[in-house]
Symmetry: C3
């Protein structure tokens, strides 16, 4: 684990945001029907081009024209699992990055086992989930309460060093970037690890913040060579947008739906230079 207390590579991250806007990567999402529309809107807001498709027969064609593939196992079905495997095979063959979002892993054996089979079979560049989902994949018994993260979780501002070490070990074991969402996010590729603060508890009070973040990471992955930088830049952007949206909603006396609108607005209006103000700590 990289323990130098150095500055995050903000200029590189700013550039990552700009590249998504300039090149508008196609992101192939095989995802759940609860948040699919919000994921598409988040991608469009950031300048990317979403394509949601999950019929096995067209996976080859669709993944081939995409810059990256996002596998999200919310509302998982056996058919979409077949599609995920076909699409991931194509992505592997064409050397396109795959992101796995193990939504609800730990909540059912089907989810846990499906996520593990995708993780072990198709070399995702990134696994992004909340703490209980990542724990489930790591084989830790966690009391899984639906799709929401356990608030008394391993990842906590007071124990950043342990959290970073744990994430880095997982990243080395899985040979990918591990990105854990929570009050503080941890992103590690086994060598580089950072913690992203900021954000707002309101982000957990709308459905799909995690799904949107995964979709957005897919867009960044399509344009960046280094997945850790892609994911870290994306998390920092989301955290700033979430914090800003929550602040402005509270000032206006709004509730959770207004927060959703302002979060997406913030993504679409985001100034890359603002990244320099992100609450990121290199661990």
């Amino acid at each position: 684990m990289n323990c130098q207390k150095n500055l995050p590579p903000f200029p590189l991250w700013e550039n990552a945001v700009r590249k998504v806007r300039r090149f508008s990567p196609v992101v192939h999402c095989i995802t759940n029907y609860v948040t699919a529309g919000w994921c598409a809107d988040a991608l469009l807001a950031a300048g990317a081009a979403p394509i949601m498709a999950d019929e096995p027969e067209e996976m080859d064609d669709i993944t081939s024209i995409a810059g990256s593939l996002v596998l999200n196992i919310g509302t998982l079905r056996q058919t979409s699992l077949v599609s995920m495997r076909r699409a991931a095979e194509t992505a592997n063959r064409l050397n396109k990055p795959v992101l796995l979002d193990p939504v609800g892993a730990g909540a059912s054996r089907l989810r846990t086992e499906s996520a593990l089979s995708l993780l072990n079979g198709f070399h995702p560049a990134v696994v992004r989930g909340n703490i209980s989902e990542i724990l489930a994949l790591a084989g830790c018994t966690a009391e899984s309460r639906g799709v929401d993260a356990d608030p008394a979780a391993l990842v906590h501002p007071d124990r950043m060093t342990e959290s970073a070490e744990w994430a880095a070990q997982l990243a080395r074991r899985w040979r990918c970037v591990v990105a854990v969402s929570g009050p503080v996010d941890i992103i590690s590729d086994g060598r580089h690890t950072c913690a992203v603060g900021g954000g707002d508890p309101m982000m957990a009070r709308i459905t799909g913040c995690g799904c949107m973040l995964s979709a957005l990471c897919g867009a960044f992955l399509a344009e960046e060579t280094d997945p850790w930088n892609a994911v870290s830049a994306c998390f920092a952007m989301m955290s700033l947008c979430g914090g800003y949206a929550a602040q402005s909603v509270r000032a206006a006396g709004g509730g959770t739906a207004s927060f959703r609108i302002r979060l997406l607005d913030a993504l679409s209006l985001f100034s890359p230079e603002r990244l320099a103000g992100a609450a990121v700590q290199i661990l």
Copy 2:
């Protein structure tokens, strides 16, 4: 039917709202893809924890960790019907409350028959629908016009006594709470019946108000021992939020989408003490 003109148990209902926030029950929804995202958002706004899942293989696991089960037959498919049966069996076995929302019953034989088989086979604690859906289940021929309630319906402010008697009879026949949405809502468990006014016609101009209400009732059912109180409290809250949101949208010159945002905002900001001002009549 309870015909005393007494006050609704508002303190108990206020407590119901607070318990959902405090205990954040997991609500397992097998629902349609049109409004699934809004249902999840409504549950989160009220403080509950949604889990949308409909693959047969994981029904046992998911229903087991949930506090209640909501079956919504909008965009019904044969596969999800299999899932509904498995999940309902699990819920029955574990003594967890089941709510049935017979979306579009009367619009197709598949919907009517599926709803009836769920009603007869799995002892739902609550059936919630609009008047034409409830009429279809009751075996009354109703000209079914899609999923929207017949405006010239049985439930009408001018004939509350007949409406209450009819709902109470159905509740006794089906041995569950019957909750009928309309310009005035009627909720009966065969012994207690109330009418909930307020709300606003704008609620029928966004998709999924009924679905959201069913999902929310699921959250209240998970925490209350008496289903009639759970459902009545939830209807009263929704009606107040709908009325308030419509008023504020009209004042701002907004349209139906702004109304949706303000309705969800109102749910997330709802003060339980406001229930005492609900337009509820014990019949």
Copy 3:
């Protein structure tokens, strides 16, 4: 092709908007799960009654009670393709108008071939898509970049005469109205052709503007005898609403999600007399 530079039949189009509100046609949509909720909301905003259903077994019943049928192949699955065929057969038999939205045609063989089989087998009254989708159906090789239109497209303000001639030829070949969305929209039935300007680039930065437009066209088709007038009126309304919403969002410093809300608000508050100000050119 009709090349008279005459005025569009605005009074007739105004009446089309009013008829949708007055008669509230049921529109049966077999559509994708990404934008299904927004399509339902757009239909409700315009005064129509959406019914989303795609289980093969209930197609006969549902299409029978609808005024029109909208087939949208986004997130296409083999099962929904079966449903589309059954529903289209019923619609053809009962003489109800069918609209085909070939979402993503050109992006996969499955989509292109499915769209062509629906086009050739079931006499749609209207085919509505973006330029790359229409090109794919026309057999032109187009570099298909997901579901978004090629910006350097055939349909361009500087070459309206060629665009109109091309659309009119397709309309005659397919014996239906061809409606091509883009910076300028082209609508032709082979005899009458118009270009609809206005709108705003922001419309391409939210998901489902095209899907919503197709759904809305379905509502207009249900009430109008002439499909070209139905579609042209609907496009003109959408374009005005999009332009107005974008203007008001920019003035307020909002982003893409606010734009979505204001677009739907504008649809729900639309004054039919405003159509006379639409940027429509009869070609």
